[in-house]
């Protein structure tokens, strides 16, 4: 399918949904409005809410805070994941000792940690960053661990026969392999950094997109909730696009999925 056709169809889906929503929430069908405005609002109100946020400029502050929290969570979580992943993969004993604890913490739904982080770190950005870190850390950790463990035996032997020392093997073989695994999970880990930030804000904060949505919900402002959701989706799509650009730059050496260069 050509690109313009595809794009047209994608836009069509959005248009149909929005028109249906608008019609069903304003025009009675058989004397009854199927989507009561109190529960569903309507696209026009939602849109004007978004416009109001951007026109007045309030939204920028919230976006900025959520973005900052996401970035911090991603950077700290990745750094920790890379270091610990590397350490565990190179020290099987350490990995074996900590294995049950790692599994335990990873199995824990992270939301339950939010109140503790709020207690420890206050209602500012750091409790949200901490929540994001617990999510990002494990994704990166598992991938780096796998990446170091699954270095091809032949490539490793080749490095050795070429005369590489342990340190050089680290630099030229283990490290790139681990990084490639980490980058392949970049979309997931960046996504989780945002999730951590927004959920943290939602559960208790004074600013950010999650706070905005929670505030609107608190006063039954359904239009506000939907507006917050749409801004959030657009925000995530933009970040994801950025990740795709970075990924293309960093993983040039990798064959594409369909096997062509």
């Amino acid at each position: 399918m050509s690109r313009p056709t595809l794009l047209a169809l994608q836009v069509l889906v959005a248009v149909v949904c929005i028109v249906l929503w608008q019609v069903l929430s304003t025009v009675p069908v058989f004397g009854k409005i199927l989507l009561p405005p109190f529960f569903f609002s309507n696209p026009f109100d939602v849109f004007s809410q978004i416009v109001k946020w951007f026109a007045s400029g309030v939204i920028w502050k919230h976006l900025g805070i959520t973005l900052a929290e996401s970035i911090l969570a991603f950077v700290i979580g990745s750094l920790g994941g890379v270091l610990v992943g590397f350490w565990f993969a190179r020290q099987p004993l350490v990995a074996a000792v900590f294995d049950p604890y790692v599994k335990m913490v990873n199995a824990l739904p992270r939301v339950v940690l939010a109140p503790i982080f709020a207690l420890w770190l206050g209602l500012g950005i750091w409790s949200k960053v901490a929540l994001g870190v617990t999510l990002v850390f494990f994704i990166v950790f598992f991938n780096v661990y796998q990446g170091v463990k699954e270095v091809s035996r032949t490539v490793l032997d080749n490095g050795r026969m070429l005369g590489m020392s342990e340190r050089q093997l680290m630099q030229h073989v283990y490290w790139p392999s681990a990084l490639s695994w980490m980058f392949s999970s970049l979309h997931t880990s960046v996504g989780f950094a945002v999730v951590g930030a927004v959920v943290g804000e939602y559960l208790g904060s004074a600013a950010g997109l999650g706070y905005l949505i929670q505030q609107a919900e608190g006063v039954f402002d359904v239009a506000g909730v939907f507006a917050g959701m749409f801004v959030l989706s657009a925000f995530v799509i933009l970040i994801d696009y950025g990740v795709t650009l970075v990924e293309r730059r960093l993983l040039v050496w990798r064959p594409t999925v369909d096997g062509r260069g």
Partner: protein, 272 residues
């Protein structure tokens, strides 16, 4: 005239401990000497342990008994005089062809600025001058082998160990690679230990062809000198009368082993 012995395996035995505690002897008392400048090919049926023998010469494996001497010195640890060309893809997938070749020098501490032009020269001499910036996945199987060859040769090892290096390639590419190898080898005649299952390839390339019996506990059961004149062209040499006579002679011995090896592998499959 005495030429120094580059690689000497003296009664080398290779054994592995299996999962159930039994010991599997792959190679029994292998005795083999490769002189400096000599091209020796090891031929044997699948699973006869010829690759393990090579790994012992490389120092990647330790013999269970016997000794390995490199230039008359017992081998301890990895064989630093040897370059190893692997059967499987061994290039670093995250490095370009040029970086894959230059790494051999950079490891030794050669500055990158000096290593890169020399790597480019080596890429050119294996016919890939125009492919310096390609990553391994963008190259064909034959091109990857060329890069691997340049990666090994740029370090100028005194001994070349090759484990069915052209095994995964198609028949035509193998012949082209064989000729390339002979051309490069002719320049400075390193000692070569070349493992293959292809008898024709072995005769066409080597000075000596060593035959191994079917495993387990395989032994070296034959050693033929190939006196075909050098420099050789692999396409031409196969038409030579002497080539055919030698091929017939060696094959009469090898055939039995191949059948034995085949029978054993099917029996093993049935037992499982």
């Amino acid at each position: 005239m005495t030429t120094p012995t580059a690689v000497a395996l003296e009664d080398a035995k290779v054994a592995f401990r299996l999962g159930d505690g039994r010991v599997y002897t792959a190679v029994e008392k292998a005795h083999l000497a490769v002189a400096q400048g000599e091209f020796v090919a090891i031929v044997g049926p699948t699973g006869c342990g010829k690759s393990t023998l090579l790994n012992i010469a490389a120092g990647l494996l330790r013999p269970a008994a016997g000794s390995v001497k490199i230039f008359d010195r017992p081998l301890a640890g990895l064989n630093r005089d040897a370059g190893y060309l692997f059967q499987a893809d061994a290039l670093f997938p995250w490095k370009t062809a040029l970086d894959n070749v230059s790494i051999g020098l950079e490891i030794k501490g050669t500055p990158r600025a000096e290593a890169l032009p020399r790597a480019q020269k080596w890429l050119t001499s294996v016919g890939l001058g125009a492919f310096a910036n390609r990553y391994p996945h963008m190259l064909s199987g034959g091109q990857r082998k060329r890069v691997a060859l340049a990666q090994v040769l740029i370090r100028d090892p005194k001994i070349l160990l090759m484990d069915e290096p052209f095994g995964p390639l198609d028949a035509q590419t193998r012949q082209v690679m064989g000729n390339l190898l002979l051309d490069l080898w002719n320049a400075d005649r390193k000692a070569v230990l070349f493992v293959t299952h292809d008898l024709e390839e072995a005769i066409a390339l080597a000075d000596r062809v060593v035959i191994m019996s079917a495993g387990p506990s395989s032994r070296i059961i034959g050693d033929w000198r190939v006196s075909l004149p050098r420099p050789r062209d692999i396409f031409e040499v196969r038409l030579d009368k002497e080539f055919h006579a030698l091929h017939r002679e060696i094959w009469s011995v090898l055939k039995d082993e191949v059948m034995k090896g085949y029978a054993q592998s099917t029996q093993a499959a049935e037992a499982v």
